[in-house]
């Protein structure tokens, strides 16, 4: 192939749209800093490393190596996408975070879950039911247009049939320094910093 010298753009760590301490008291500044600067950065670095290896395998037409790299791409690429979406669907309480969804999002949630408080209860049940590491998402089913709650293991990204709308990180690193094993308290506090405008924007 002629184009083997093509160089892919590297994934980079996005800046947070608020300060590390801006989500307190729901999420401590220390957690936000480690989560963004260390955990997310590691996903970005490891994704770029795996992408380079993939590129090399592709140029050598080494199919076995390309397949063997898929779990790394899925994990680190998923970690990068998931955290990017997560930061964006959060906002400080005094700057748009919390409250309730409006407009078409409100209608979609009510059509699937009756009302906002039932939706919240179901979402928290889904979060509490994650065994191991993972995420809970409100997604849109691209075929039916309906919204629904789904959980994903580890860093599995929301792709394919579903569009991610709202993600909550249920890995222990997302809450442990502040809440330790009391994860239900984290799940209940996070509603004060959900950026419903951003979530609604993804529905369109």
């Amino acid at each position: 192939m002629a184009s083997t010298s093509f160089v892919r753009g590297k994934a980079t760590l996005p800046d947070l749209p608020y300060d590390y301490g801006a989500l307190e008291p729901s999420i401590s500044g220390k957690i936000m800093e480690l989560h963004h600067k260390n955990h997310h950065q590691t996903y970005v670095n490891s994704f770029n490393a795996a992408s380079e290896q993939l590129e090399a395998a592709e140029s050598k037409e080494d199919i076995a190596a390309q397949i063997a790299l898929q779990p790394l791409i899925n994990f680190h690429g998923g970690g990068h996408i998931n955290h990017t979406l997560f930061w964006e669907n959060l906002a400080p309480s005094k700057n748009g975070g919390g409250g309730e969804p409006a407009g078409s999002l409100k209608t979609a949630i009510e059509s699937s879950y009756g009302d906002f408080s039932q939706f919240k209860t179901k979402f928290n049940t889904a979060l509490a039911g994650i065994q191991g590491s993972g995420w809970a998402w409100l997604v849109k089913d691209n075929e039916t247009g309906q919204v629904q709650i789904r959980t994903y293991a580890n860093q599995d990204p929301v792709v394919g049939k579903y569009t991610p709308l709202l993600g909550v990180d249920a890995w222990e690193h997302a809450y442990y320094l502040q809440y330790q094993n009391r994860k239900a308290e984290y799940f209940s506090a996070i509603w004060d910093v959900i950026n419903w405008k951003a979530v609604e924007g993804r529905l369109k």
Partner: protein, 218 residues
């Protein structure tokens, strides 16, 4: 109805602060009295629902309970094995020389005990989920192997667990934060080689130590 025998949280064979500075007292206390206790509580609740479902011939509910039992029973088994294969750094059992037969077998399999430790740590750091790293012995062949289990899965049938390391973030985060490499390095200072050698030599049943006693009382 006969009262159902309940699983209970085992006492640690040492104090919560006894693994300092390699594992902090705060981690050990939460890990043992909260995380492990929650597994035990959820296991007992699931088993009691299961016996109700069995009595009612409700097979659908029995199937729905499997995942819950797998997770919480696995958590109970894994953590019990974990506590037993750790010991304060001051103990002579933390030296591989306390496990002469196993050390010889590890040397012939991995080159040296240090090489085994390096490989084991690479396996631990490669986990892409919450889970465990294990040194196991294949029951048929007697071979030593490194493996991982996700979430709270126990080691598979046919393998005897010798040494288990918890790589859930709750096992190290309060002390090591995202630096799981330092946790994986530090934990070798508190590995109970004497216990690991006991498991190496014991029957597959015997590995489960105090759990086999519990099992027979159910």
């Amino acid at each position: 109805m006969a009262a159902q025998a309940k699983y209970t949280l085992p006492d640690l064979p040492y104090k919560h602060d006894a693994l300092e500075p390699h594992i902090s007292a705060q981690i050990m206390t939460l890990h043992h009295t909260k995380h492990h206790q929650t597994c035990v509580n959820n296991l007992n609740a699931a088993l009691s629902s299961l016996s109700t479902a069995v009595a009612k011939n409700d097979i659908v509910s029995q199937l729905h309970l499997q995942q819950n039992i797998n997770f919480n029973a696995g958590g109970h088994v894994n953590h019990t094995l974990f506590w037993e294969n750790l010991i304060p750094a001051s103990s002579p059992s933390t030296s591989p020389s306390a496990a002469p037969k196993l050390s010889a077998a590890l040397t012939s399999r991995f080159g040296s005990v240090e090489k085994l430790q390096e490989k084991f740590n690479a396996v631990l750091l490669g986990l892409k989920c919450s889970g465990w790293g294990w040194l196991v012995r294949d029951i048929e062949s007697g071979n030593l192997e490194l493996t991982t289990s996700k979430d709270q899965d126990i080691v598979p049938v046919g393998k005897k667990p010798l040494l288990g390391i918890d790589m859930w973030e709750h096992a190290y985060y309060l002390q090591y934060l995202n630096d799981k490499g330092s946790y994986a390095k530090g934990i070798w200072k508190v590995v109970n080689w004497k216990k690991v050698e006991e498991r190496f030599e014991s029957s597959p049943e015997g590995v489960f130590g105090i759990l086999s006693g519990l099992r027979s009382s159910i």
